[in-house]
Protein backbone atom coordinates (compact mmCIF):
# COMPACT_ATOMS: atom_id res chain seq x y z
CA UNK A 1 0.00 0.00 0.00
CA UNK A 2 0.99 3.61 -0.46
CA UNK A 3 -0.01 6.58 1.69
CA UNK A 4 0.77 10.23 2.00
CA UNK A 5 2.53 11.67 5.02
CA UNK A 6 0.27 14.10 6.85
CA UNK A 7 2.77 14.88 9.59
CA UNK A 8 6.03 13.49 10.91
CA UNK A 9 6.22 15.17 14.27
CA UNK A 10 9.17 15.08 16.61
CA UNK A 11 7.87 14.36 20.12
CA UNK A 12 11.30 14.61 21.70
CA UNK A 13 14.89 13.70 20.81
CA UNK A 14 14.03 10.01 20.63
CA UNK A 15 10.39 9.72 19.64
CA UNK A 16 8.39 10.66 16.55
CA UNK A 17 4.75 10.51 15.60
CA UNK A 18 4.08 9.78 11.94
CA UNK A 19 0.59 10.28 10.55
CA UNK A 20 -0.23 8.77 7.17
CA UNK A 21 -3.30 9.13 5.02
CA UNK A 22 -4.50 5.89 3.42
CA UNK A 23 -8.16 4.96 3.26
CA UNK A 24 -7.61 1.38 2.21
CA UNK A 25 -5.34 0.72 5.16
CA UNK A 26 -7.65 2.30 7.68
CA UNK A 27 -10.52 0.12 6.47
CA UNK A 28 -8.58 -3.06 7.12
CA UNK A 29 -6.48 -2.40 10.22
CA UNK A 30 -7.38 -3.92 13.58
CA UNK A 31 -6.06 -2.97 16.98
CA UNK A 32 -2.78 -4.75 17.81
CA UNK A 33 -1.67 -5.13 14.22
CA UNK A 34 1.51 -3.77 12.68
CA UNK A 35 2.92 -2.82 9.29
CA UNK A 36 6.20 -3.31 7.46
CA UNK A 37 7.26 0.12 6.28
CA UNK A 38 9.78 1.24 3.69
CA UNK A 39 12.14 3.69 5.29
CA UNK A 40 14.06 4.51 2.12
CA UNK A 41 13.90 5.40 -1.56
CA UNK A 42 13.16 1.92 -2.71
CA UNK A 43 14.20 2.08 -6.32
CA UNK A 44 17.73 3.20 -6.14
CA UNK A 45 19.23 2.42 -2.80
CA UNK A 46 19.40 -0.91 -1.01
CA UNK A 47 20.72 0.20 2.37
CA UNK A 48 18.75 -0.16 4.62
CA UNK A 49 17.42 -3.18 2.77
CA UNK A 50 14.45 -4.59 4.63
CA UNK A 51 11.23 -2.88 5.65
CA UNK A 52 10.79 -2.17 9.36
CA UNK A 53 7.94 -3.46 11.58
CA UNK A 54 5.99 -0.74 13.39
CA UNK A 55 2.78 -1.10 15.39
CA UNK A 56 -0.34 0.83 14.45
CA UNK A 57 -0.72 3.46 17.19
CA UNK A 58 -3.96 5.11 16.20
CA UNK A 59 -6.57 5.53 13.52
CA UNK A 60 -8.63 8.61 12.89
CA UNK A 61 -10.82 9.17 9.82
CA UNK A 62 -8.78 8.13 6.78
CA UNK A 63 -5.46 8.48 8.60
CA UNK A 64 -3.40 6.23 10.81
CA UNK A 65 -0.53 6.99 13.13
CA UNK A 66 2.73 5.34 14.06
CA UNK A 67 4.86 6.22 17.05
CA UNK A 68 8.49 5.29 16.62
CA UNK A 69 11.74 5.57 18.46
CA UNK A 70 15.03 6.39 16.72
CA UNK A 71 17.09 3.21 16.98
CA UNK A 72 19.22 2.83 13.86
CA UNK A 73 19.39 3.74 10.21
CA UNK A 74 15.85 2.78 9.27
CA UNK A 75 14.16 4.87 11.91
CA UNK A 76 16.62 7.72 11.34
CA UNK A 77 15.76 7.80 7.65
CA UNK A 78 12.07 7.67 8.52
CA UNK A 79 12.47 10.71 10.76
CA UNK A 80 13.69 12.70 7.75
CA UNK A 81 10.63 12.00 5.61
CA UNK A 82 8.85 15.20 4.69
CA UNK A 83 5.18 16.03 4.84
CA UNK A 84 3.27 15.23 1.62
CA UNK A 85 5.76 12.63 0.38
CA UNK A 86 4.44 9.19 -0.47
CA UNK A 87 5.50 6.25 1.63
CA UNK A 88 4.92 2.57 1.07
CA UNK A 89 4.09 -0.15 3.56
CA UNK A 90 2.35 -3.49 3.78
CA UNK A 91 -1.31 -4.12 4.50
CA UNK A 92 -2.04 -4.48 8.24
CA UNK A 93 -0.31 -7.61 9.53
CA UNK A 94 -0.51 -10.03 12.43
CA UNK A 95 -2.86 -10.92 15.24
CA UNK A 96 -5.02 -8.52 17.23
CA UNK A 97 -5.80 -7.78 20.85
CA UNK A 98 -9.02 -9.38 22.12
CA UNK A 99 -11.57 -6.62 22.42
CA UNK A 100 -13.87 -6.64 25.43
CA UNK A 101 -16.91 -4.59 26.38
CA UNK A 102 -17.51 -3.06 29.79
CA UNK A 103 -14.66 -4.87 31.57
CA UNK A 104 -12.01 -3.67 33.95
CA UNK A 105 -8.76 -3.67 32.00
CA UNK A 106 -5.16 -2.90 32.85
CA UNK A 107 -2.82 -1.85 30.06
CA UNK A 108 0.94 -1.83 30.52
CA UNK A 109 3.37 -0.10 28.21
CA UNK A 110 7.15 0.02 28.49
CA UNK A 111 8.90 2.71 26.46
CA UNK A 112 8.05 2.46 22.78
CA UNK A 113 5.59 -0.32 23.73
CA UNK A 114 3.11 2.56 24.01
CA UNK A 115 2.52 2.45 20.24
CA UNK A 116 -0.12 -0.32 19.98
CA UNK A 117 -1.32 0.35 23.53
CA UNK A 118 -2.31 3.88 22.60
CA UNK A 119 -4.90 2.69 20.09
CA UNK A 120 -5.96 -0.17 22.36
CA UNK A 121 -6.73 2.22 25.22
CA UNK A 122 -8.87 4.35 22.97
CA UNK A 123 -10.75 1.34 21.61
CA UNK A 124 -11.42 -0.21 25.00
CA UNK A 125 -12.60 3.09 26.38
CA UNK A 126 -15.05 3.45 23.52
CA UNK A 127 -16.29 -0.06 24.28
CA UNK A 128 -17.15 0.99 27.80
CA UNK A 129 -14.25 -0.62 29.60
CA UNK A 130 -12.46 0.74 32.61
CA UNK A 131 -8.99 1.45 31.26
CA UNK A 132 -6.05 1.77 33.66
CA UNK A 133 -2.73 2.41 31.95
CA UNK A 134 0.59 1.71 33.66
CA UNK A 135 3.24 3.35 31.57
CA UNK A 136 6.93 3.03 32.37
CA UNK A 137 10.10 4.38 30.82
CA UNK A 138 13.75 4.82 31.61
CA UNK A 139 13.57 8.59 31.90
CA UNK A 140 10.98 11.29 31.27
CA UNK A 141 11.91 11.25 27.58
CA UNK A 142 10.57 7.71 27.33
CA UNK A 143 7.02 8.55 28.31
CA UNK A 144 5.28 10.48 25.55
CA UNK A 145 1.80 11.63 24.55
CA UNK A 146 0.70 11.90 28.20
CA UNK A 147 -1.97 14.52 27.49
CA UNK A 148 -3.60 12.36 24.86
CA UNK A 149 -3.36 9.28 27.04
CA UNK A 150 -5.10 10.97 29.96
CA UNK A 151 -8.16 11.40 27.79
CA UNK A 152 -8.45 7.77 26.83
CA UNK A 153 -7.72 6.20 30.22
CA UNK A 154 -9.40 6.17 33.59
CA UNK A 155 -6.19 6.04 35.53
CA UNK A 156 -2.79 6.82 34.10
CA UNK A 157 0.13 5.70 36.25
CA UNK A 158 3.54 6.79 34.99
CA UNK A 159 6.82 5.38 36.28
CA UNK A 160 10.44 6.03 35.32
CA UNK A 161 13.61 4.25 36.36
CA UNK A 162 15.17 7.49 37.48
CA UNK A 163 12.08 9.21 38.81
CA UNK A 164 12.33 12.05 36.32
CA UNK A 165 8.62 11.62 35.58
CA UNK A 166 5.91 9.91 37.62
CA UNK A 167 6.79 7.36 40.29
CA UNK A 168 10.40 6.20 40.52
CA UNK A 169 10.62 2.46 39.93
CA UNK A 170 9.36 -0.30 37.71
CA UNK A 171 5.96 -0.17 36.09
CA UNK A 172 5.21 -3.64 37.41
CA UNK A 173 5.25 -2.43 41.05
CA UNK A 174 2.11 -0.27 41.15
CA UNK A 175 0.44 -2.68 38.73
CA UNK A 176 1.25 -5.70 40.92
CA UNK A 177 -0.59 -4.14 43.84
CA UNK A 178 -3.79 -3.80 41.85
CA UNK A 179 -3.68 -6.84 39.61
CA UNK A 180 -6.62 -8.52 41.32
CA UNK A 181 -8.98 -5.74 40.38
CA UNK A 182 -8.84 -6.45 36.64
CA UNK A 183 -10.65 -8.77 34.24
CA UNK A 184 -7.99 -8.56 31.56
CA UNK A 185 -4.37 -7.44 31.22
CA UNK A 186 -2.68 -6.20 28.01
CA UNK A 187 0.99 -5.33 27.71
CA UNK A 188 3.62 -4.20 25.23
CA UNK A 189 7.25 -3.37 25.94
CA UNK A 190 10.64 -4.98 26.56
CA UNK A 191 10.57 -8.75 26.84
CA UNK A 192 11.71 -8.81 30.46
CA UNK A 193 8.82 -6.59 31.40
CA UNK A 194 6.32 -8.68 29.45
CA UNK A 195 7.52 -11.77 31.23
CA UNK A 196 7.16 -10.10 34.64
CA UNK A 197 3.68 -8.83 33.76
CA UNK A 198 2.64 -12.27 32.56
CA UNK A 199 3.88 -13.90 35.74
CA UNK A 200 2.04 -11.42 37.94
CA UNK A 201 -1.14 -11.88 35.91
CA UNK A 202 -0.88 -15.65 36.04
CA UNK A 203 -0.32 -15.49 39.78
CA UNK A 204 -3.59 -13.62 40.11
CA UNK A 205 -5.30 -15.77 37.51
CA UNK A 206 -6.11 -12.85 35.26
CA UNK A 207 -5.86 -13.40 31.49
CA UNK A 208 -2.96 -11.51 29.89
CA UNK A 209 -2.15 -10.63 26.28
CA UNK A 210 1.30 -9.43 25.30
CA UNK A 211 2.55 -7.89 22.08
CA UNK A 212 6.02 -9.23 21.29
CA UNK A 213 8.91 -7.83 19.22
CA UNK A 214 11.14 -10.00 17.11
CA UNK A 215 13.48 -9.09 14.29
CA UNK A 216 11.51 -9.61 11.08
CA UNK A 217 12.50 -10.00 7.46
CA UNK A 218 9.23 -10.68 5.63
CA UNK A 219 6.54 -9.84 8.19
CA UNK A 220 4.12 -12.21 6.49
CA UNK A 221 5.05 -15.69 7.61
CA UNK A 222 7.43 -16.83 4.90
CA UNK A 223 10.99 -16.52 6.22
CA UNK A 224 10.58 -18.23 9.62
CA UNK A 225 12.93 -15.68 11.13
CA UNK A 226 10.62 -14.58 13.95
CA UNK A 227 9.75 -17.74 15.87
CA UNK A 228 8.13 -17.56 19.34
CA UNK A 229 7.76 -20.75 21.36
CA UNK A 230 4.33 -21.26 22.86
CA UNK A 231 2.98 -24.03 25.09
CA UNK A 232 -0.23 -25.71 24.04
CA UNK A 233 -1.10 -28.51 26.46
CA UNK A 234 2.02 -30.62 26.74
CA UNK A 235 3.44 -29.49 23.46
CA UNK A 236 5.76 -26.60 22.70
CA UNK A 237 4.78 -25.12 19.38
CA UNK A 238 6.65 -22.77 17.05
CA UNK A 239 4.63 -19.66 16.22
CA UNK A 240 5.56 -16.88 13.83
CA UNK A 241 5.57 -13.55 15.64
CA UNK A 242 4.43 -11.86 12.42
CA UNK A 243 1.39 -14.06 11.69
CA UNK A 244 0.26 -15.84 14.85
CA UNK A 245 1.64 -12.80 16.76
CA UNK A 246 2.59 -10.15 17.63
CA UNK A 247 -0.19 -10.53 20.24
CA UNK A 248 0.16 -13.75 22.25
CA UNK A 249 -1.40 -15.18 25.37
CA UNK A 250 1.24 -14.19 27.92
CA UNK A 251 0.56 -17.26 30.02
CA UNK A 252 1.52 -19.57 27.17
CA UNK A 253 4.73 -18.00 25.93
CA UNK A 254 7.85 -20.04 26.78
CA UNK A 255 9.66 -17.07 28.27
CA UNK A 256 13.03 -18.78 28.65
CA UNK A 257 13.32 -19.00 24.87
CA UNK A 258 12.20 -15.41 24.34
CA UNK A 259 14.28 -13.54 26.94
CA UNK A 260 18.02 -14.05 26.55
Amino acid sequence: MVGKIVRNQKLNDKYYLLEIKCEEFVREAKVGQFIMINTRHQDYTNDPLLRRPLGVANIEGDKFSLVYMIVGKGTRLLSECQKDTEISFSAPLGSTFTLLRKKRTALLAGGIGIAPVYWLAKTLKEAGCVVDLYYGGRTMDDVVLLEELKETTDHLVVTTDDGSAGIKGLVTDPFGENVNSYDQIYACGPKGMLRAVSEIAMGADVPVEVSLDERMACGLGACLGCIIYVKEGDETLQKRCCVEGPVFDGSKVVWDTVCK
Partner: protein, 306 residues
Protein backbone atom coordinates in the same frame (compact mmCIF):
# COMPACT_ATOMS: atom_id res chain seq x y z
CA UNK B 1 -0.12 -11.27 -21.13
CA UNK B 2 1.76 -12.16 -24.25
CA UNK B 3 3.92 -15.23 -24.87
CA UNK B 4 7.17 -13.33 -25.07
CA UNK B 5 8.29 -14.43 -21.60
CA UNK B 6 7.42 -18.12 -21.96
CA UNK B 7 10.47 -20.12 -21.03
CA UNK B 8 11.16 -23.80 -21.29
CA UNK B 9 13.74 -24.81 -18.72
CA UNK B 10 14.88 -28.45 -18.84
CA UNK B 11 11.57 -29.50 -20.28
CA UNK B 12 9.31 -27.59 -17.89
CA UNK B 13 7.23 -24.86 -19.50
CA UNK B 14 7.26 -21.74 -17.30
CA UNK B 15 4.97 -18.81 -18.18
CA UNK B 16 7.94 -16.57 -17.45
CA UNK B 17 11.49 -17.07 -16.17
CA UNK B 18 10.91 -15.43 -12.77
CA UNK B 19 10.71 -17.93 -9.93
CA UNK B 20 10.65 -17.16 -6.22
CA UNK B 21 13.57 -18.67 -4.33
CA UNK B 22 13.42 -21.38 -1.72
CA UNK B 23 13.17 -20.20 1.88
CA UNK B 24 12.10 -16.71 0.89
CA UNK B 25 8.60 -17.58 -0.23
CA UNK B 26 7.45 -20.06 2.40
CA UNK B 27 5.11 -22.62 0.87
CA UNK B 28 3.79 -19.95 -1.49
CA UNK B 29 0.50 -19.60 0.35
CA UNK B 30 1.83 -16.95 2.74
CA UNK B 31 1.99 -14.52 -0.18
CA UNK B 32 -1.53 -15.09 -1.52
CA UNK B 33 -2.93 -12.17 0.46
CA UNK B 34 -0.23 -9.85 -0.86
CA UNK B 35 0.25 -10.66 -4.55
CA UNK B 36 -1.29 -12.79 -7.28
CA UNK B 37 1.09 -15.74 -7.14
CA UNK B 38 -0.29 -17.19 -10.37
CA UNK B 39 1.58 -14.40 -12.15
CA UNK B 40 4.88 -16.02 -11.17
CA UNK B 41 6.82 -18.30 -13.47
CA UNK B 42 7.18 -20.66 -10.58
CA UNK B 43 7.72 -21.06 -6.88
CA UNK B 44 10.55 -22.95 -5.24
CA UNK B 45 9.19 -23.90 -1.82
CA UNK B 46 11.03 -23.92 1.50
CA UNK B 47 13.53 -26.82 1.70
CA UNK B 48 11.65 -30.04 2.50
CA UNK B 49 13.09 -33.01 4.37
CA UNK B 50 11.94 -36.53 5.15
CA UNK B 51 10.58 -35.60 8.56
CA UNK B 52 9.52 -32.36 10.19
CA UNK B 53 12.46 -30.20 11.33
CA UNK B 54 12.23 -27.43 13.96
CA UNK B 55 15.25 -25.43 12.71
CA UNK B 56 17.76 -23.45 14.72
CA UNK B 57 17.19 -21.53 17.96
CA UNK B 58 16.41 -17.81 17.76
CA UNK B 59 17.71 -15.29 16.74
CA UNK B 60 17.86 -16.47 13.18
CA UNK B 61 18.09 -13.34 11.03
CA UNK B 62 19.94 -10.03 10.94
CA UNK B 63 20.19 -7.27 8.40
CA UNK B 64 23.65 -6.37 7.10
CA UNK B 65 24.68 -3.68 4.64
CA UNK B 66 22.50 -4.26 1.55
CA UNK B 67 22.01 -7.85 2.60
CA UNK B 68 20.90 -10.12 5.39
CA UNK B 69 22.17 -13.10 7.34
CA UNK B 70 19.91 -16.04 8.06
CA UNK B 71 20.30 -19.29 9.90
CA UNK B 72 16.77 -20.63 9.86
CA UNK B 73 18.18 -24.14 9.90
CA UNK B 74 15.79 -25.49 7.28
CA UNK B 75 12.71 -25.53 9.52
CA UNK B 76 10.00 -27.34 7.56
CA UNK B 77 6.91 -29.48 7.97
CA UNK B 78 8.43 -32.59 6.35
CA UNK B 79 7.54 -34.10 3.02
CA UNK B 80 4.33 -35.88 4.08
CA UNK B 81 2.72 -32.84 5.66
CA UNK B 82 3.89 -30.71 2.75
CA UNK B 83 2.15 -32.96 0.26
CA UNK B 84 -1.01 -33.22 2.35
CA UNK B 85 -1.39 -29.78 3.88
CA UNK B 86 0.36 -27.34 1.55
CA UNK B 87 0.55 -28.69 -1.99
CA UNK B 88 -3.17 -29.06 -2.76
CA UNK B 89 -3.89 -25.40 -1.90
CA UNK B 90 -0.80 -24.26 -3.75
CA UNK B 91 -1.78 -26.26 -6.81
CA UNK B 92 -4.94 -24.18 -7.16
CA UNK B 93 -2.72 -21.39 -8.45
CA UNK B 94 -1.56 -21.65 -12.03
CA UNK B 95 2.20 -21.61 -11.55
CA UNK B 96 4.98 -24.20 -11.61
CA UNK B 97 5.98 -25.78 -8.33
CA UNK B 98 9.62 -26.60 -7.70
CA UNK B 99 10.28 -28.54 -4.54
CA UNK B 100 13.53 -27.68 -2.87
CA UNK B 101 14.61 -30.66 -0.75
CA UNK B 102 17.47 -31.95 1.37
CA UNK B 103 18.50 -34.76 3.64
CA UNK B 104 20.77 -35.37 6.57
CA UNK B 105 22.15 -38.48 4.91
CA UNK B 106 22.51 -39.82 1.41
CA UNK B 107 19.64 -42.21 2.16
CA UNK B 108 17.37 -39.36 3.21
CA UNK B 109 18.09 -37.44 0.01
CA UNK B 110 17.15 -40.48 -2.02
CA UNK B 111 14.03 -41.19 0.00
CA UNK B 112 12.61 -37.66 -0.22
CA UNK B 113 13.34 -37.60 -3.95
CA UNK B 114 11.53 -40.89 -4.42
CA UNK B 115 8.44 -39.59 -2.66
CA UNK B 116 8.46 -36.31 -4.58
CA UNK B 117 8.95 -38.08 -7.91
CA UNK B 118 5.40 -39.40 -7.62
CA UNK B 119 3.88 -36.17 -6.33
CA UNK B 120 2.05 -33.50 -8.29
CA UNK B 121 5.01 -31.12 -8.58
CA UNK B 122 6.91 -29.88 -11.60
CA UNK B 123 10.57 -30.06 -10.72
CA UNK B 124 12.94 -30.96 -7.92
CA UNK B 125 15.70 -28.71 -6.63
CA UNK B 126 18.23 -30.55 -4.53
CA UNK B 127 19.81 -28.33 -1.89
CA UNK B 128 23.35 -29.48 -1.12
CA UNK B 129 24.44 -26.01 -0.12
CA UNK B 130 22.66 -24.87 3.03
CA UNK B 131 25.36 -23.40 5.27
CA UNK B 132 23.17 -23.48 8.38
CA UNK B 133 22.88 -27.10 9.34
CA UNK B 134 25.56 -29.35 10.73
CA UNK B 135 24.66 -32.62 9.07
CA UNK B 136 24.08 -33.06 5.37
CA UNK B 137 23.55 -30.01 3.21
CA UNK B 138 26.81 -28.18 2.87
CA UNK B 139 28.89 -31.31 3.48
CA UNK B 140 27.57 -32.65 0.17
CA UNK B 141 28.03 -29.31 -1.55
CA UNK B 142 31.69 -28.63 -0.72
CA UNK B 143 33.14 -31.97 -1.77
CA UNK B 144 32.92 -32.74 -5.50
CA UNK B 145 32.84 -36.50 -4.94
CA UNK B 146 29.95 -36.24 -2.51
CA UNK B 147 28.20 -33.92 -4.96
CA UNK B 148 28.60 -36.49 -7.70
CA UNK B 149 27.46 -39.31 -5.45
CA UNK B 150 24.29 -37.73 -4.08
CA UNK B 151 23.30 -36.45 -7.51
CA UNK B 152 23.91 -39.83 -9.08
CA UNK B 153 21.99 -41.76 -6.41
CA UNK B 154 19.04 -39.40 -6.51
CA UNK B 155 18.98 -39.40 -10.30
CA UNK B 156 18.73 -43.21 -10.25
CA UNK B 157 15.39 -43.19 -8.43
CA UNK B 158 13.82 -40.34 -10.38
CA UNK B 159 11.52 -41.50 -13.18
CA UNK B 160 9.29 -38.49 -13.75
CA UNK B 161 10.77 -35.27 -12.51
CA UNK B 162 13.73 -33.22 -13.71
CA UNK B 163 16.45 -32.73 -11.10
CA UNK B 164 18.11 -29.37 -10.51
CA UNK B 165 21.05 -29.23 -8.07
CA UNK B 166 21.61 -26.05 -6.05
CA UNK B 167 25.26 -25.16 -5.59
CA UNK B 168 27.13 -23.41 -2.81
CA UNK B 169 29.22 -20.30 -3.44
CA UNK B 170 31.47 -21.19 -0.50
CA UNK B 171 33.92 -23.14 -2.65
CA UNK B 172 37.21 -22.39 -4.36
CA UNK B 173 36.04 -23.47 -7.80
CA UNK B 174 32.35 -23.82 -8.59
CA UNK B 175 33.14 -25.24 -12.05
CA UNK B 176 34.24 -28.51 -10.52
CA UNK B 177 30.94 -28.89 -8.70
CA UNK B 178 28.88 -27.95 -11.73
CA UNK B 179 30.76 -30.54 -13.76
CA UNK B 180 30.24 -33.19 -11.07
CA UNK B 181 26.48 -32.54 -11.21
CA UNK B 182 26.39 -32.73 -14.98
CA UNK B 183 28.45 -35.92 -15.04
CA UNK B 184 26.13 -37.47 -12.47
CA UNK B 185 23.12 -36.76 -14.67
CA UNK B 186 21.63 -33.59 -13.18
CA UNK B 187 19.16 -31.89 -15.52
CA UNK B 188 19.96 -28.37 -14.37
CA UNK B 189 21.92 -26.32 -11.86
CA UNK B 190 20.77 -23.50 -9.66
CA UNK B 191 23.31 -21.06 -8.26
CA UNK B 192 23.96 -19.56 -5.86
CA UNK B 193 22.90 -20.36 -2.32
CA UNK B 194 24.04 -17.95 0.42
CA UNK B 195 27.61 -16.95 1.26
CA UNK B 196 28.68 -17.90 4.75
CA UNK B 197 28.82 -14.78 6.92
CA UNK B 198 28.66 -13.56 10.48
CA UNK B 199 27.95 -10.46 12.55
CA UNK B 200 28.65 -9.59 16.18
CA UNK B 201 26.64 -7.29 18.42
CA UNK B 202 29.39 -5.12 19.87
CA UNK B 203 27.31 -4.27 22.95
CA UNK B 204 26.49 -7.81 24.06
CA UNK B 205 29.58 -9.22 22.30
CA UNK B 206 27.40 -12.10 21.13
CA UNK B 207 26.77 -13.16 17.55
CA UNK B 208 23.57 -11.67 16.13
CA UNK B 209 22.67 -15.18 14.95
CA UNK B 210 22.41 -17.93 17.56
CA UNK B 211 23.98 -20.37 15.10
CA UNK B 212 27.01 -17.98 15.09
CA UNK B 213 27.33 -18.01 11.29
CA UNK B 214 24.54 -17.53 8.78
CA UNK B 215 23.95 -17.29 5.07
CA UNK B 216 24.44 -13.89 3.44
CA UNK B 217 21.93 -12.97 0.74
CA UNK B 218 20.61 -9.87 -1.01
CA UNK B 219 21.96 -7.23 -3.41
CA UNK B 220 25.34 -7.22 -1.62
CA UNK B 221 26.20 -10.65 -3.08
CA UNK B 222 25.02 -10.10 -6.64
CA UNK B 223 28.50 -9.60 -8.17
CA UNK B 224 29.64 -12.93 -6.68
CA UNK B 225 26.51 -14.68 -7.96
CA UNK B 226 26.87 -13.26 -11.49
CA UNK B 227 30.49 -14.40 -11.58
CA UNK B 228 29.57 -17.92 -10.45
CA UNK B 229 26.74 -18.28 -12.96
CA UNK B 230 29.21 -17.15 -15.64
CA UNK B 231 31.76 -19.74 -14.52
CA UNK B 232 29.10 -22.44 -14.37
CA UNK B 233 27.80 -21.55 -17.82
CA UNK B 234 31.27 -21.84 -19.29
CA UNK B 235 31.79 -25.32 -17.87
CA UNK B 236 28.54 -27.27 -18.37
CA UNK B 237 25.86 -27.68 -21.02
CA UNK B 238 22.84 -28.19 -18.76
CA UNK B 239 20.69 -25.12 -18.07
CA UNK B 240 21.32 -22.82 -15.11
CA UNK B 241 18.90 -21.01 -12.86
CA UNK B 242 20.57 -17.80 -11.67
CA UNK B 243 20.09 -16.65 -8.08
CA UNK B 244 21.61 -13.99 -5.88
CA UNK B 245 20.66 -10.41 -5.09
CA UNK B 246 18.12 -9.93 -7.85
CA UNK B 247 15.84 -6.94 -7.16
CA UNK B 248 14.85 -5.65 -10.60
CA UNK B 249 14.55 -6.51 -14.29
CA UNK B 250 18.01 -5.20 -15.06
CA UNK B 251 19.44 -7.78 -12.68
CA UNK B 252 17.51 -10.51 -14.47
CA UNK B 253 18.92 -9.44 -17.84
CA UNK B 254 22.41 -9.39 -16.35
CA UNK B 255 22.02 -12.98 -15.12
CA UNK B 256 20.55 -14.05 -18.47
CA UNK B 257 23.47 -12.54 -20.39
CA UNK B 258 25.98 -14.59 -18.40
CA UNK B 259 23.98 -17.74 -18.98
CA UNK B 260 20.98 -18.05 -16.68
CA UNK B 261 18.07 -19.68 -18.53
CA UNK B 262 15.75 -18.61 -15.72
CA UNK B 263 16.18 -16.84 -12.38
CA UNK B 264 15.06 -16.94 -8.79
CA UNK B 265 14.22 -13.92 -6.67
CA UNK B 266 14.98 -14.40 -2.98
CA UNK B 267 15.58 -11.72 -0.37
CA UNK B 268 13.84 -9.13 -2.54
CA UNK B 269 10.52 -10.81 -1.67
CA UNK B 270 11.05 -9.51 1.87
CA UNK B 271 11.99 -6.04 0.68
CA UNK B 272 8.65 -5.84 -1.11
CA UNK B 273 6.48 -8.80 -2.14
CA UNK B 274 5.57 -6.86 -5.26
CA UNK B 275 9.11 -7.07 -6.64
CA UNK B 276 8.83 -10.34 -8.61
CA UNK B 277 5.60 -9.08 -10.22
CA UNK B 278 7.24 -5.78 -11.13
CA UNK B 279 10.18 -7.67 -12.60
CA UNK B 280 7.87 -9.74 -14.81
CA UNK B 281 6.06 -6.66 -16.12
CA UNK B 282 9.25 -4.67 -16.64
CA UNK B 283 11.01 -7.56 -18.32
CA UNK B 284 8.16 -8.05 -20.77
CA UNK B 285 8.24 -4.37 -21.52
CA UNK B 286 12.00 -4.40 -22.04
CA UNK B 287 11.82 -7.26 -24.52
CA UNK B 288 9.01 -5.60 -26.45
CA UNK B 289 10.59 -2.18 -26.62
CA UNK B 290 13.85 -3.67 -27.84
CA UNK B 291 12.24 -6.11 -30.27
CA UNK B 292 13.71 -9.12 -28.54
CA UNK B 293 11.52 -12.05 -29.54
CA UNK B 294 11.91 -14.05 -26.36
CA UNK B 295 13.74 -14.17 -23.08
CA UNK B 296 15.84 -17.10 -24.29
CA UNK B 297 17.44 -14.81 -26.87
CA UNK B 298 19.29 -13.11 -24.05
CA UNK B 299 20.69 -16.24 -22.48
CA UNK B 300 24.47 -16.42 -22.61
CA UNK B 301 24.72 -13.40 -24.90
CA UNK B 302 27.26 -11.41 -22.90
CA UNK B 303 29.94 -10.01 -25.20
CA UNK B 304 33.43 -10.92 -24.06
CA UNK B 305 35.24 -9.66 -27.15
CA UNK B 306 37.91 -7.08 -26.39
Amino acid sequence: MSDILKTTFCGVKFKNPVITASGTFGYGLEYVKHIDISRLGGISVKGISLTEVPGNPMPRIMETTSGMLNAIGLQNVGVERFLKEKLPALRKHDTKIIVNFWGKTLEEYVKVAEILDDADVDMLEMNISCPNIKEGGIAFGTDPEMTYKVTNEVKKVLKNKPLMVKLSPNVTNIRVFAKACEDAGADAISAINTLLGMAINIHTRKPYISNVTGGLSGPAIKPVAVRMVHETFSSVKIPIMGIGGITNWQDVVEFALVGAGAVQVGTANFVDPQIPINIIDDLENHLKVNNIASFSELVGKADFSK
